[in-house]
Amino acid sequence: MTHNAQDVREVTLLEVLDRVIDRGVVLAGDITISVADVDLVYLGLRLMLCSVLRAEQLHYGASACERRDL
């Protein structure tokens, strides 16, 4: 869960994306079905992450996508 002071709410999508996209164990990647296809998963997720971050930047006034090198 994400917590802000006393506020408790459902995990935001941004928090989940933050972890599942770029982190985690990577085993021998060359035996996955297709690196290209796996990369496409990330491409799609990154597109979504970028749109979520753009919403966030309305709050913080900075380019969140740029900060994350997307």
């Binding site: 802000n4 999508l13 985690g24 164990v25 990577v26 996955t32 006034g61």
Partner: protein, 292 residues
């Protein structure tokens, strides 16, 4: 989606492998790796990715278990992914289903989540990949056992940062110089003041980020700075100072959270957000040098 109990058996046996391996159009999605006793059978009581009636199961690999699910290769094809490239709902469902399985396994046992989207043609390929890294996987599992990851974000009121900047000796000197300068020279010195302010702001942000990170690290067994503030422009209602992850023993999580609360209360103009407990996504590198 509410979790549901998978069909039994939840641990694959050699005969299951023969029955299920690499039939046309099917692949194996790997969620992560856990320890398991060869005699142990454990359940994973949540539904995974689509198709939801394909159970999430533990594939035995020596003393390790790969948490896997049979998936349709068409769901991970270029065409399917590109067709959904702009479909946030589809991707959100994918992400949340993946995380739901990871969280369920992590809540029960030491678990190394794999990067999202790893699909293997056959169970044998997963077994081989795990065998190759077996020693490191076992060591990493031992390191994260009984621990949770917590995400922390720190924000500061720009006024609190400006107060630090104005006390910076470089800014004070530049302002003193400009105060005593002729109007013509003052114009050129203004640039120097701006540079001093930018430099002092960068120092203040670094100091805040490192100070808070070091403080929280006392309560954790490892930490990782994911992002510091990348701008010295103090725009907006607040400035993001730090985004970091910490690996914390489960029994010490209350202390960690109390430490975070104390830190923000003691620093005027600070605000924090935290999230967790997560599986140790940020602390599962198999590179021994990165083990902190």
């Amino acid at each position: 989606m509410k979790g549901k109990l998978p069909a039994s058996p939840t641990v694959l046996r050699p005969t299951d492998l023969v029955d299920n391996s690499s039939s046309d159009g099917w692949g194996w999605y790997l969620y992560g790796i856990t320890k398991r006793d060869p005699q142990e059978e454990f359940t994973i009581g949540v539904a995974g990715l689509s198709p939801a009636d394909e159970p999430v199961v533990a594939l035995p690999v020596g003393e390790l278990g790969a948490i896997v699910q049979r998936v349709g290769l068409a769901d991970f094809s270029t065409e399917k992914i590109m067709a959904h490239a702009g479909d946030a709902t589809w991707f959100e469902q994918l992400v949340r289903q993946h995380e739901r399985v990871v969280a369920a396994v992590h809540s029960e046992r030491a678990f190394l989540p794999t990067k999202m989207g790893c699909v293997y043609p056959n169970p044998e390929d997963i077994i081989e990949a795990i065998r190759l890294g077996s020693d490191k996987l076992v060591a990493t599992l031992g390191r994260v056992e009984g621990c949770d990851e917590w995400g922390v974000k720190l924000f500061a009121d720009p006024a609190a940062i400006e107060a630090l900047v104005l006390r910076d000796v470089r800014v004070e000197q530049a302002k003193a110089e400009i105060a005593n300068a002729t109007p013509g020279r003052a114009y050129f010195l203004q640039r120097k003041v701006e540079e001093a302010v930018a430099s002092a702001t960068e120092s203040a942000l670094l100091q805040m980020a490192q100070g808070s990170y070091d403080h929280l690290l006392h309560y954790a067994i490892a930490g990782e700075i994911n992002q510091r503030s990348g701008s010295t422009r103090l725009t907006g209602p607040e400035v993001a100072i730090l985004r970091a992850s910490f690996l914390v023993r489960r029994s010490e999580s209350p202390l960690f959270l109390e430490g975070l609360r104390d830190y923000t209360e003691r620093h005027v103009g600070f605000r924090s957000e935290y999230s967790g407990p997560w599986a140790p996504y940020s602390f599962v590198s198999l590179d021994e040098d990165s083990a902190r």
